[in-house]
């Protein structure tokens, strides 16, 4: 019996052994790959990234306008911010491995003490950085909220939950050192070399340079380098939100470095960051500053009640490089964040508006240049066609569709002041005779006028790539009758008259206007250039192929524009002729009628129960934000405050326009100018007379260009944009 039982006992043990061996085989052979993968996962820690230095933005002479300056960020691991248990265990393991705790101390016990340590770290951090404790907690909260949003968006754990995240940015060197010395013993805190974007006395181009901001999920999804771990945008990254920072984002960004640590906190793999490339603007910063100063002066010479803003653009006609792209008023680059609320609320001056490319204005009389070319090209007029200036267009309505001269001096017409035989194309440009262009517009019709506007680049971007750049409006039939518009309608007779003199729905930006001038001077429309990368490749995509025009027709226009400035009686002759003997300015003035800008509205709000209330706000969302739930419905709005404020019986001052180009005096009258030719546009909001207000600015810009920069002899630029095949697109 004993033997039998021993046998049973043996059998029992053998069975157990079999089970064990089977289980071993399952783990070690059948599921080996699974465990291998798990091992890889715990062995490879989430990579840590080293930010790359962002490239600088330089002007055409290589002068640095904006660059990254080294600074320090204090980063805290998300696991410590959120007190995640799994992270605390990891940190506990690291601390024990480092010897902070006894080798036999339980991770759980160590991890249990870590929240207190993290708490005391915040206290020391507050003391070292001189920031209030509450401020630090707010910052930590912001990071937590950000990460939880990403997590919610991704619906799965995101990498940031396993990383050090910057909590305090741009810490001074000494503070960074003190923090590193005292607090880097915590594995969840690291002082990381970061950088600070610094602008070097470049507020004159502050709109153009643009700003950096946190990358939004949409931006990350749309990033051209999406999926590239080191090159692509990641949540929490800064990226260009506006201006050139946006345009040159990919070139400026560089590639981040990466450190992969293994389980033993040793470096397993390191990729060094690659600094971003510089972006070379075509802008001449010195010119830009001059232009801005001139704009400021022009605006400040206006009556205080109408002072708002101004813009000017200078283009090199041959290369279509933008030399100046100025918007007034500007703001301070460094103080932007502090002043943001004030800047945004300034509905009168709109300092945040990048007027040169963003704001749309009725072109007014500068549009007559296009109308003339359209009329000549379509054959509805010849250079010799004369129209009498009758003062007003419709015999029975002397108070509508007037010529400006009749408007200013009732009873006076250009037939009286200039030529009793009527106006031909050249003199109509010189005099800016409305009646002449009403007639041309009538013959062309609104739709054909719109086609010619489009050929001159209106209604489309000019290819800078700027996110701010707007297309303006060319009110084609399709556009006008679009049912999505507030009041869709069809073209009427009056539209052709209005459009022909640059009024009505048609709008243009100062950049478009400058390129119209460049088109007239150069004989062809082409997209402009604003910035090049290191390899000489221009940023931005051409919105349309170049478009050339009949030289004979352009000569008529150029002669007219020469006479505008250089012939007594020309609309700008009193203000714009250059002092130079060698160069002269050709141009076209414009005084675009406009309406008051509504600064805020009185909204009538109604609740479902019939209760009503009126509130004043700048916009509908802002009005609704004044109320808690339930939100009322806005049933009506009335302009509450308008700008500019008018005196009794006064009409709204027109926007003052001037477009033109410089040419050597030796250029045969009306011929395409040779050598270096600058085209420019100037706009002064509510300036009144184009000739009197915008003209002097244009003159001063032109004189600076020809005298101090030397319009004839081509100065050496950055060299990047000089390739002939890039430049010459005739």
């Amino acid at each position: 019996m004993f033997q039998k039982r021993l046998t049973w006992f043996w059998v029992f043990l053998s069975l157990m052994t079999l089970v064990i061996v089977a289980r071993l085989a399952q783990i070690q052979i059948a599921e080996a790959a699974h465990y291998q993968a798990l091992a890889e996962r715990i062995l490879t820690r989430r990579p840590e990234y080293i930010p790359a230095r962002r490239g600088a933005i330089r002007d055409r002479h290589g002068v640095v306008l904006v660059r990254d300056e080294p600074g320090y960020d204090v980063s805290v691991h998300y696991g410590a911010l959120a007190l995640r248990e799994d992270y605390l265990l990891q940190a506990a393991r690291a601390l024990r491995e480092r010897g902070d705790y006894a080798a036999d101390a339980k991770l759980r016990d160590i991890a249990g003490q870590l929240p207190d340590q993290i708490e005391s770290m915040w206290g020391r951090l507050a003391a070292l950085t001189n920031l209030p404790r509450a401020e630090l907690e707010q910052r930590a909260d912001r990071v937590r909220v950000r990460v939880s949003r990403w997590r919610a968006a991704a619906q799965q754990p995101v990498r940031e939950e396993y990383q050090l995240l910057p909590v305090i940015e741009n810490v001074p060197h000494e503070t960074a050192l003190a923090i590193a010395l005292e607090l880097e013993r915590y594995p969840w805190l690291r002082v990381v070399p970061g950088s600070r974007r610094v602008a070097l006395d470049t507020d004159a181009a502050v709109h153009l340079l643009g700003r950096l901001g946190a990358a939004s999920p949409e931006r990350i999804a749309a990033d051209p380098l999406r999926g590239d771990e080191l090159g692509g945008l990641r949540p929490g990254d800064l990226c260009g939100l506006s201006g050139i920072e946006y345009v040159g984002e990919v070139a400026l960004r560089g590639r981040r470095g990466r450190i992969i640590l293994d389980y033993g906190w040793r470096e397993r793999e390191r990729t060094d960051p690659v600094a971003g490339h510089d972006v070379h603007l075509t802008i001449d910063m010195e010119l830009q500053r001059r232009v801005l100063a001139l704009l400021e002066k022009a605006v400040n010479e206006l009556r205080p009640e109408v002072r708002a803003g101004a813009a000017a653009v200078v283009i090199d006609v041959a290369t279509r490089e933008v030399l100046a792209l100025a918007s007034y008023p500007i703001y301070n680059y460094e103080r932007f964040n502090d002043e943001y609320d004030r800047l945004r609320a300034d509905a009168r001056h709109l300092p945040l508006s990048f007027r040169a490319v963003q704001a749309q204005y009725a072109p007014g009389s500068i549009c007559k240049a296009i109308t003339l070319i359209g009329g000549l090209s379509e054959g509805v007029i010849t250079p010799q066609t004369h129209f009498h200036c009758t003062g007003y267009l419709l015999p029975n309505q002397p108070d509508r569709f007037r010529c400006w001269i009749y408007n200013l001096n009732p009873g006076i017409t250009h037939d009286m002041t200039d030529n009793p035989a009527g106006q031909d194309g050249e003199s109509a440009v010189r005099n800016s005779c409305n009646i002449y262009f009403f007639r041309v517009g009538e013959r062309l019709g609104a739709e054909r006028l719109c086609e010619w506007f489009t050929r001159f680049g209106l209604g489309r971007t000019q290819g800078t790539g700027l996110i701010e750049e707007t297309e303006g409006i060319v009110p084609t039939e399709a556009w006008l009758s679009d049912p999505r518009r507030p009041a869709p309608r069809h073209h009427q007779n009056a539209d052709a008259w209005n459009y022909a003199i640059g009024q009505g729905e048609v709008t243009t930006t100062p950049l478009q206007a400058a390129n119209v001038a460049a088109t007239i001077a150069g004989g062809y429309w082409a997209p402009v250039r604003l910035a090049y990368d290191d390899t000489g490749h221009a940023f931005g995509a051409p919105p349309a192929p170049p478009q050339s025009f009949d030289e004979a027709h352009l000569q008529v226009l150029r002669r007219g524009m020469w006479r505008v400035v250089n012939e007594p009686g020309g609309t700008a002759h009193r203000w714009a002729p250059l002092a130079s003997r060698d160069y002269e300015l050709c141009g076209k003035t414009g005084s675009a009628q406009t309406v008051q800008r509504v600064i805020n509205w009185r909204f009538t709000c109604e609740w479902p129960d019939g209760r009503r209330e009126e509130v004043v706000a700048a916009s509908k969302p802002e009005a609704l934000a004044l109320f808690d739930d339930p939100k009322p419905e806005i049933v009506a709005r009335h302009a509450n405050e308008r700008f500019p404020v008018l005196l009794a019986g006064e009409t709204v001052p027109a926007h003052a326009w001037f477009i033109g180009f410089t040419q050597p005096t030796s250029t045969p009258r009306g011929h395409r100018p040779a050598g270096r030719v600058y085209a420019l546009s100037v706009l002064v909001e509510f300036g009144g007379s184009g000739g009197a207000v915008a003209g002097p600015v244009a003159k001063a810009i032109a004189e600076y260009l020809v005298e101090e920069r030397g319009a004839g002899s081509r100065e050496q630029g950055t060299g990047n944009g000089e390739q002939p095949q890039e430049r010459d697109r005739r």
Binding site: M1, F2, Q3, K4, R5, L6, W8, F9, W10, L13, M16, T17, V19, I20, V21, R23, L24, A25, I27, Q28, I29, E31, A32, H34, Y35, Q36, L38, A39, I42, L43, E85, D86, L89, R93, R96, E97, R98, G99, A103, D104, K106, R108, D262, Y263, G264, R266
Partner: protein, 421 residues
């Protein structure tokens, strides 16, 4: 009749080989993972690691030869080697007197072990000298550098006492007769429960049941006791266990879960252990090369309770199975001894020793691979630890003692009950 040591050499090789093998495997594993006990980066198997050890742990360059060897081998390894040597000495000591003479002192030895265990319990109420508290448990009696765990020696004492009690009786073939041996076992179990040391405590039961089983207790009685005991388990689980103990049992049933927080926390040890085994594959990562060998802390208790995972990691499935085979050889040898002797005390002693060793080995392996709850339990002859080694070698000595002294008894073979079932 040849002198005892000659008989030992003849018979003993089949036992000495697996024990030597296991000890060697244990030493090798310890050496590979040895970083000293105090901190990371201490010299030891440092040559394959890239980072230099912290300066404070660097041995002075002008060390004597002995110390240099000490650091080269690793403190833990050297200590284990010393335990092994003293263990073998203890085994020799136990071989000297006849096991029957030792049997005379079975009850006093049992009593001594009980007193030592009671001292540990007493420390809960009165501060007893030499009883350190570590992690809220009292398992050690320590005098200077030498410390022993009475519970380890309790196992041997219990085997002796049970064998002594059961050797000439028939009473245990009645249900009531099972009560005294049960009480003999329950008393130390209760004392150990106060330490607490669940693993060692539960290790006493297989010893008891296996000895009763081979001694011929009726199966239905044993089953009844097991069923009754089993019935109390849910109650024990619900009311007698602490949270962490319950968690360890839950680990068994949740080990496949995708809950990462749980895997990081409660399931951490088992998952790491399985990863260590799984990355071993068929033949292992090779000696001293696997990540679990190079990085401390990937696997908690890698020197003790989870050393089997390190074996499977370095030498793969093949190595793991070889270790299991070594235990099988020890079992075979023990059962052979039990069969060959017809002294009842010797028989029971041999079976008890075999069960003590093999049950602990199998349970340790089971917990490493997720077949049993994780309790602090060493792998006999392999894991680091003095008391466990010494107790096992003493037990081995008793087994060899029985093997080399087969008294010529003129008696019928014991435990051959006529009305057996």
């Amino acid at each position: 009749m040849s002198p005892p040591f000659l008989r030992l050499t003849r018979l003993g090789w089949s036992l000495a080989l697996p024990v030597l093998f296991l000890s060697a495997v244990g030493l090798a594993c310890l050496h590979a993972t040895d970083r000293g006990l105090s901190s990371s980066g201490a010299p030891g198997a440092a040559d394959q690691r890239s980072a230099p050890p912290p300066a404070s742990d660097t041995p002075p360059s002008d060390l004597g030869g002995g110390l240099r060897l000490y650091y080269a081998l690793g403190p833990l390894t050297v200590r284990q080697a010393l335990y092994l040597l003293t263990g073998v000495l203890l085994m020799g000591l136990v071989l000297w007197p006849s096991y029957q003479k030792i049997g005379w002192y079975a009850y006093p030895l049992y009593g001594l072990a009980i007193v030592l265990l009671a001292l540990l319990v007493l420390d809960r109420f009165v501060d007893v000298p030499l009883v350190p508290v570590s992690r809220a448990t009292r398992r050690w009696i320590r005098a200077g550098p030498v410390g022993i765990q009475p519970s380890e020696f309790m196992k041997v004492a219990l085997i002796l006492a049970l064998a002594r009690y059961l050797r000439f009786r028939h009473s245990y073939r009645r249900l009531g007769g099972l009560i005294p041996p049960l009480l003999l076992t329950l008393l130390p179990m209760v004392l150990i429960l106060f330490q607490p040391d669940l693993g060692t405590l539960l290790m006493l039961l297989p010893v008891l049941f296996a000895m009763l089983f081979v001694a011929g207790a009726r199966l239905r009685h044993l089953l009844l006791v097991i069923v009754l005991g089993g019935a109390t388990l849910p109650l024990f689980y619900l009311y007698g266990m602490k949270d962490y103990q319950r968690a360890r049992i839950q680990v068994l049933f949740r080990q496949g879960t995708a809950d990462e927080a749980w895997q990081q926390d409660e399931g951490y040890q088992l998952r790491q252990s399985k990863i260590a085994l799984g990355t071993g594959g068929w033949t292992g990562t090779g000696y001293g090369t696997g990540i679990f060998v190079q990085y401390e802390d990937l696997l908690p208790e890698e020197h003790n309770d989870f050393i089997f995972a390190i074996i499977g990691h370095q030498w793969g499935f093949v190595g793991a199975v070889l270790v299991i085979l070594a235990y099988a050889l020890i079992v075979l040898f023990g059962l052979e001894v039990a069969t060959l002797t017809n002294d009842p005390f010797g028989r029971l002693l041999a079976v008890g020793v075999v069960v003590m060793i093999v049950a602990q080995a199998l349970l340790n392996i089971c917990m490493t691979i997720g077949l049993a709850p994780i309790t602090g339990m060493t792998l006999p002859f392999v894991s680091a630890g003095g008391s466990s080694l010494w107790a096992n070698f003493i037990a081995l000595g008793l087994l060899l003692n029985v093997a080399q002294r087969r008294p010529l008894l003129i008696a019928r073979p014991p435990f051959e009950h006529a009305n057996g079932d």
